[in-house]
Amino acid sequence: MRIGVITFPGSLDDRDAARAVRLAGGEPVALWHGDRDLRGVDAVILPGGFSYGDYLRCGAIARFAPVMSELVPAARAGLPVLGICNGFQILCEAHLLPGALTRNAGLRFVTRDLPLRVENTQTAWTRAYTAGEQIVVPLKSGEGAYAADPGTLAGLEASGQVVIRYAGDNPNGSAAAIAGVRNAAGNVVGLMPHPEHAVEPLTGPSADGLGFFTSVVSPGVLA
């Protein structure tokens, strides 16, 4: 499986996402924000970072990158897409996922290893987990408070589109402690915590995040 990782100006966790793909047995493929080309990959990851410095609303400029003109129709056609942190923010700005990410409730950047509950495994990126499974993955963001209008939130809950929820303290004031959501089809997932930083115990709090990458790399085995 060839998994593309897009580098925007200001992307920071692109190498980490590529490493996670490699550890999961996939082949990472570097994609460049300025190319209108997905290079025939089987799935795409939008990594963490501060695209364009996030001096404007997070992800607001990156959604207009040339590569997005290829990604958006491909995602709507079913290509598996994962947005991590800044990638999640970009997917929301691009309207591939509902809702928005706003300043943390404490108004400070938060780096913390957090217990998360996998609420939904009917996605391209979480099928390696079991529903209700608890994992420990780092969060590191300043604008990670998930927000959506009450109708949207109710709809997400009813249709099982809440994929990841903070299982302990709500670290940033996210609505309904939502840490990650999916689109209706389940091929597009975004989350604020960083599963690519929990792929080996040596450099992370656990290897619990690896399941996101094995889910898409070996869907047949793990489905």
Binding site: P9, D16, T111, P138, G142, L202
Partner: protein, 761 residues
């Protein structure tokens, strides 16, 4: 600009009064410039010399002392580049080299905490980048006035948010540092930023403009009026006792970490493509410094067309352009035939670049403004700067300070008293849980962080296949140095060295940030001279060379100087980071978190000798407000043996945990290891529990030896000549000191965790 002060005009108006004093130059220095040039300087030349000859850039008061670092340097095969470069470069094996340096941003961080601290990170990262390395991590050593002081509530959150903003957005993990409080830093906080970078041996770049005809390219951010006079007016003068500090705010630069991130990636691509002949970062003194240093280190001449410098404020003239400290800029020397390729790489990364001049063989640094010469100087005259032998004198009060022996202080009478003292120490701002600060930093980005704060040292993986890694620690102790700057500096060096060794790494090299008051005060100059002598002697004894550093003088308000505070950074190499040793006590089955299970509880061995040493100690200061006596006696030979033992024991997989003993002694170290590992311990102390618990004797480390490995470790310890006592075992959910007290983990945490959140929200 009403009238341009050209070289021609300077020649014809010799007696024009010039504002040299306002720019921080003395009458003698001004006259030396006139003698060098054979005429009065132009306005642009005066600006250039004023920043180049500032204390901050020229090291004019410290140079005569700093020579000792090279003169006394121990033989080391590991140095690829030493003092005098942007940063020293150390060979760590397997074809890898590491460069690291620590630098102060104290004055800007007091005037404008957020931007001051942010641009401190940005500046040191460019130093590392200029050596050819990919920046890999940062650390920050921070010191503030009393934690409860209203001004600390202004400065500390701003400094932390600035470091968080810049470092996180730049994508560099923050892997450690220090946080301390003392009234001597009120009005003069210390913000010292360290960066470490990694490269292959062949990637080393040079800061020299060689090859006549080669083009000089300025790239990165545009040049604005921010930071004009940052090096001369702000960093090279003490703060006034009144309210003049607000007037210095415009001297603080404004950071743009996004542009710096692009600049990093752009430079690394330029280096990889072989497009760069020479490169220099722009920091203090901006274009003035980069042009003079590149020219002085190269063929010797350079022609610069200042109107080609891309500006963000069109009203700037030559003096402001030369003095501006606008951030995120680099200067490169490029062969004419490769300029097109160079500019294409810049365009890919959306980095602005402009050819502003070329290398010449005239021996002169000439700058023009729309064709009119405004600077024409021999570059070495500006780059070398004056040298002062400042008077120094041991202050009379030093004897009284040494005589105030802490042995006379009342000690806790029983177990309940010892218990209360430990809890009070753990709750004190300098020893309390630092998560309020460190949770604002990204420690994960780049995916190679093996250990980060609150661990003794930060540990980074360099090679995924072999496990080769590097460890780093910074330490400083103003109280020890106030009592005895020679000994105090060696204690700081020894602690950083020990902290690196505690992870299982072998210490290799040293960087330093020397924070002191005014060099014009003979008492301060004595402290400085003693500290430098102590560090040079200490490095020789430990066998680790100083590879570079930074001096920050004028950390004083009025006539009151800070405690002398040399902050020492030590770099070590770890042969296999998978064998790293953390500080947290392992769970009761003997296995560290994530590691293989062992049988039975790990036993705790206290390595080193414990003497009744309380001079400058946390206990004396926090429980009695006492600062006096002698600081602990360093034993550098013992430190060397201890470090060798720790590395050997880690390599053999004998240790489940290791934690250096420092502030607060064994009591605080045990509590920290319990909290980190969420596991208790029970210890029995051989004699007088007060001394064993709170003495700050150097050269000590508490280790948890894996069950079954006790005999092997004991033989290894004896072979290394390290004294040690088995004092107890890991396990349970309390810190128990037999016959004295028991403190449940929850109570330890309740003392340790809430202090900083309660102070800073």
């Amino acid at each position: 600009m009403t009238s341009l002060d050209t070289v021609a005009r300077a020649e014809s108006s010799a007696d024009l009064p010039q504002p040299y004093a306002e720019l921080g130059l003395t009458r003698d220095e001004y006259e030396k410039i006139v003698t060098t040039l054979g005429r009065r300087p132009t306005g642009a030349e005066l600006a250039l010399y004023s920043v180049m000859w500032s204390e901050h850039c020229s090291y004019k008061s410290s140079k005569v002392h700093l020579k000792q670092f090279a003169a006394k340097a121990p033989p080391s095969g590991a140095l690829l580049a030493g003092i005098g470069h942007n940063a020293g470069v150390v060979d760590i094996g397997q074809g890898y080299a590491v460069t690291f340096k620590i630098e102060s941003h104290n004055h800007p961080s007091y005037v404008e905490p957020h931007q001051g601290a942010a641009t401190g990170v940005g500046g040191i990262v460019r130093d590392i980048l200029a050596m050819g390395a990919r920046p890999a991590a940062v650390m920050d050593a921070l010191r503030f006035g009393p934690a409860a002081a209203p001004d600390t509530a202004r400065v500390l959150p701003g400094v932390v948010s600035g470091i968080s903003f810049y470092g996180n957005c730049l994508g560099l993990p923050n892997i450690g540092g220090e946080l301390d409080f003392d009234p001597s830093y009120a009005g003069n906080p210390l913000v010292n930023a360290l960066c470490v970078g990694v490269m292959r041996h062949g990637d080393l770049q040079v800061a020299a403009a060689s090859g006549p005809g080669n083009k000089v390219i300025l790239f990165g951010s545009t040049t604005g009026p921010d930071g004009v006079g940052g090096a001369s007016v702000l960093a090279s003068a003490a703060f006034g006792a009144g309210t003049g500090d607000a007037a210095k705010r415009p001297s603080v630069q404004v950071g743009d970490p996004f542009t710096e991130k692009l600049l990093v990636e752009c430079c690394l691509e330029l280096f990889a493509a072989g497009l760069v002949v020479g490169i220099q970062d722009l920091g203090a003194a901006g274009v003035a410094c980069a042009t003079t240093e590149l020219a002085a280190a190269g063929t010797g001449g350079m022609l610069v067309r200042l109107e080609e410098v891309p500006l963000r404020d069109a009203t700037l003239g030559p003096p402001e352009i030369l003095m501006s400290e606008s951030q995120e800029r680099m200067m490169a020397v490029v062969e004419p035939a490769r300029v097109g390729e160079f500019l294409a790489v810049c365009a890919k990364w959306e980095v602005r670049a402009a050819v502003i001049g070329e290398v010449t063989d005239t021996g002169r640094l000439v700058m023009t403004w729309h064709g009119e010469p405004v600077v024409d100087i021999p570059p070495a005259s500006a780059a070398d700067g004056p040298v002062y032998h400042r008077p120094l004198a041991r202050p009379a009060a030093q004897d009284a300070l040494a005589a105030a022996d802490p042995a006379a202080l009342p000690r806790p009478a029983d177990g309940a008293g010892l218990r209360a003292d430990l809890l009070a120490l753990l709750a004190s701002p300098g020893l309390a849980d630092k998560s309020w600060v460190t949770d604002q930093y990204d420690r994960y980005v780049r995916g190679n962080t093996v250990l980060a704060m609150p661990e003794d040292g930060g540990l980074l993986r360099v090679d995924e296949a072999t496990g080769l890694g590097i460890a780093l620690a910074t330490d400083g102790n103003g109280r020890y140095c106030r009592l005895d700057p020679y000994r105090g500096t060696q204690l700081a060096l020894a602690e950083a060295y020990r902290n690196v060794a505690a992870t299982g790494a072998r210490p290799l090299a040293v960087t330093n940030c020397l924070n002191f008051g005014s060099p014009e005060d003979p008492a301060v100059m004595w402290q400085f001279a003693e500290a430098v002598r102590g560090l040079a002697d200490g490095c020789a004894a430990l066998g680790v060379p100083v590879t570079g550093g930074n001096v920050s003088f004028y950390n004083q308000t009025g006539t009151t100087a800070i405690h002398p505070t040399p902050v020492i950074g030590v770099l070590g190499v770890h042969d296999d980071v998978r064998r790293r040793v953390g500080m947290g006590f392992p769970a009761a089955d003997g296995s560290p978190a994530g590691g293989p299970a062992a049988e039975g509880p790990a036993c705790i061995v206290l390595l080193g000798r414990t003497e009744p040493e309380f001079g400058g100690s946390s206990w004396a200061y926090l429980r009695h407000g006492h600062l006096g006596g002698r600081p602990p006696a360093p034993d550098l030979d013992a430190e060397r043996r201890l470090a060798a033992l720790l590395a050997a024991a880690a390599a053999a997989g004998l240790l489940a945990a290791a934690h250096d003993l420092s502030d607060g002694g064994l009591a605080v170290a045990l509590a920290e290891s319990c909290l980190r590992g969420r596991t208790g311990c029970t210890v029995r102390l051989p004699s007088d529990p007060f001394t064993w618990l709170f003495s700050e004797s150097a050269g000590r480390c508490a280790v948890a030896v894996r069950a079954g490995a006790e005999a092997v470790f004991g033989r290894l310890r004896e072979a290394h000549g390290v004294p040690g006592e088995t004092i107890g075992a890991v396990g349970g959910d309390s810190l128990v000191v037999d016959g004295c007290f028991a403190i449940p983990l929850a109570e330890l945490a309740a003392a340790h965790a809430p202090t900083l959140p309660a102070l800073f929200g």
